[in-house]
């Protein structure tokens, strides 16, 4: 059996794969946070709870309507995104004239409510969610075994991230969005409906979280607390990447997933904390994050 730095290649590539999977979720979640922060100037604490809801909607669709994974991948982000639109219209909207910290506190309260309700209903143990038959099994790459579903998660989330980046940085709609980030009053004066754009942006960011939840369901099971601790890691990822940078959050998401996976191989004790340590180091050198700018 071959090995690198005394670690069997099987284990090394296995952890790298897990790192890439986690990185996919970090990227999708921090991308959503970044898009929301760019326009609304709030940190969406409810992001982890909505990620969890995405997985649960997939579970409900299967249990109640008999709709499988592929339908869930389409419908769950729409359902959760719509919930996001309702939350923005009814609550967040009233806070824009206040200190941005109130947005953080409100979404924190929402996260407590959502997680508490699901925990009352489903306990804290996970519910199994079968992976789609088309993606069962895997293939041997010679140096490691690659399960098809995991490859799909990585490819699909990467594609979603890049598509989002393209829309925001390279299309007309995206240019409106970026302009509204810089100066909403001026963009509104040009006849663009900025409040509606803000609402839809929140819905879209939240939908990304739900999409990540559906992708995660077959791997991690569906659990009311699946987003609770994850979201804090994602906050650290966002701080490292710098808030408001689209490509920054995608790159740091994937990179930190890989770093975490490698830490599990070489120094397992630190695998929980490595992202926070990196955050502290980045802050010492560049307080606005690697790709961020002063806002």
């Amino acid at each position: 059996m071959s090995s690198i730095f005394g670690v069997p290649t099987q284990a090394l590539f296995g952890q790298l794969l897990i790192g890439l999977i986690n990185g996919s979720f970090y990227a999708l979640l921090s991308l959503g946070l970044s898009v929301i922060f760019g326009l609304l100037n709030i940190i969406n604490f409810a992001h982890g709870a909505l990620y969890m809801m995405g997985a649960f909607v997939a579970y409900f669709l299967l249990q109640w309507a008999g709709l499988g994974y592929w339908w869930a991948l389409l419908l769950s982000p729409i359902v959760v995104g719509f919930l996001g639109v309702v939350l923005e219209r009814t609550m967040l909207k009233r806070l824009y004239h206040l200190d941005h910290l109130y947005g953080l506190l409100l979404t924190f309260g929402l996260a407590l409510i959502i997680q508490g309700l699901f925990r009352n209903e489903f306990g804290s143990s996970g519910l199994p969610y079968a992976m789609p038959a088309q993606l069962a099994g895997g293939r041997s790459l010679g140096f490691m075994f690659l399960p098809n579903y995991r490859a799909w998660v990585i490819v699909f989330s990467l594609a979603t991230c890049l598509a989002t980046w393209y829309v925001i940085e390279r299309t007309k709609l995206g240019s409106y969005l970026r302009a509204a980030t810089e100066n909403p009053a001026l963009v509104q004066a040009f006849g663009i409906n900025v409040p509606r754009m803000i609402t839809l942006t929140y819905g879209f960011g939240v939908a990304l979280a739900a999409l990540a939840g559906v992708l995660a369901a077959p791997i991690y099971q569906v659990n009311p607390l699946m987003g609770a601790d994850l979201i804090i890691v994602v906050f650290a990822v966002v701080v490292i990447g710098g808030l408001g940078s689209i490509m920054g959050s995608i790159l740091t998401g994937f990179a930190l997933g890989i770093v975490e996976g490698l830490t599990k191989v070489f120094y397992p004790e630190a695998s929980n904390t490595v992202i926070f340590v990196i955050m502290a180091l980045v802050l010492l050198v560049k307080p606005t994050g690697l790709f961020g700018r002063e806002k």
Binding site: M91, H97, D99, F108, G116, R119, P287
Partner: protein
């Protein structure tokens, strides 16, 4: 329409505020002296520890405008240190609490130095993430005993004189600790140092242009807040003879925000009232299990949407005097 400054108290002239705050303080002390004869003392002690914790937290959010989402790190780690020194090393309670407080202060220097360079949402994020790092450390370090926590911590003899195993003795010691912390915070807020903090909160560039080194002031306030949180945590560990992961977890950081918000951000007495309400809620709703989380979430949302001044803030507006 309201403005961003709404939640903040009006800047007061110290001389005009003195009397009714003195009355409020006297009412509070009288209540705490009489209360243990009517209310379960262990509950009161818990509420007092959290009241001190919330006051320490309020020093930062209310008077410097910094929202820390990681204050559980100071409460929890001080609890572990006090419990460990008292149980394993056999230190007397006063030294054990002091050790916890000092460690929390040192932690405050480290975390503060990193976090103070940023503002607003960044600051909240960074303190949250660093506190989560402390949480994982406490989860893995051998001396904290992971999920079990440090149990059966001896209360011991305070200064070798007072036997803390008597509930009433313990209660009045906790009350003394709380009042000392409360008065220190009160003194800080009304000192020239406190005035500079408020100036930084209102307009940092102007304060800097007047020659104040804002970062040093903010760091000092942060360390003071962390130290007093540690005092609360150490005392709590001795009272309940227990240090556990609950006190380091981020839900605890959220809880102290809730207490302060509910009582009134930037009011002197608000955090005390808020802590009592939240602890009472937990006490009476405890048989409902995880519904407590839902109720807390609902209070959070209602406070932010409709009740941003908090209980004491509204009261102060009613009598048109800062409390």
């Amino acid at each position: 329409m309201t403005t961003a400054q709404e939640a903040a108290p009006a800047l007061e002239a110290p001389s005009a505020t003195g009397r009714h705050q003195l009355v409020a303080f006297a009412v509070m002390v009288a209540f705490f002296v009489v209360a243990p004869f009517f209310i379960y003392p262990l509950f009161l002690m818990k509420a007092l520890c959290f009241a001190l914790f919330a006051c320490a937290f309020n020093l930062l959010i209310g008077y410097v405008g910094l929202l820390s989402f990681g204050h559980a790190a100071f409460l929890g780690s001080a609890g572990y240190i006090s419990a460990h020194t008292a149980k394993v090393w056999g230190w007397p309670p006063e030294l054990a609490i002091l050790a916890g407080t000092v460690v929390a202060g040192a932690l405050g220097v480290l975390i503060g130095a990193l976090a103070i360079r940023s503002r607003g949402i960044y600051f909240a994020n960074i303190t949250l993430a660093l506190a989560q790092m402390i949480y994982f450390f406490c989860l893995q370090a051998p001396f904290t005993h992971g999920e079990d926590g440090i149990q059966a911590v001896p209360r011991g003899m305070l200064f070798g004189l007072l036997d803390l195993r008597h509930t009433m003795t313990m209660y009045f010691v906790v009350l003394a600790v709380f009042l000392a912390g409360f008065l220190l915070i009160y003194r800080t807020i009304h000192s020239p140092f406190g005035q500079v903090l408020k100036a930084i909160r209102e307009h940092e560039p102007r304060a800097v242009s007047l020659g104040y080194t804002a970062e040093q002031y903010k760091l000092l306030a942060f360390v003071l807040s962390a130290t007093l949180s540690g005092l609360a945590g150490g005392t709590k560990a001795i009272v309940f003879q227990l240090a556990s992961l609950t006190d380091v977890h981020w839900t605890m950081s959220g809880e102290v925000v809730l207490m302060t918000l509910l009582g009134g951000l930037g009011t002197v007495f608000g955090p005390v009232v808020g802590a009592f309400i939240v602890i009472s809620l937990e006490n009476y709703l405890s048989q409902l299990g995880s519904w407590v989380t839902v109720v807390q979430g609902v209070i959070f949302v209602l406070c932010v949407l409709t009740f941003r001044r908090g209980v004491i803030g509204e009261l102060a507006r009613l009598i048109k005097k800062p409390l």
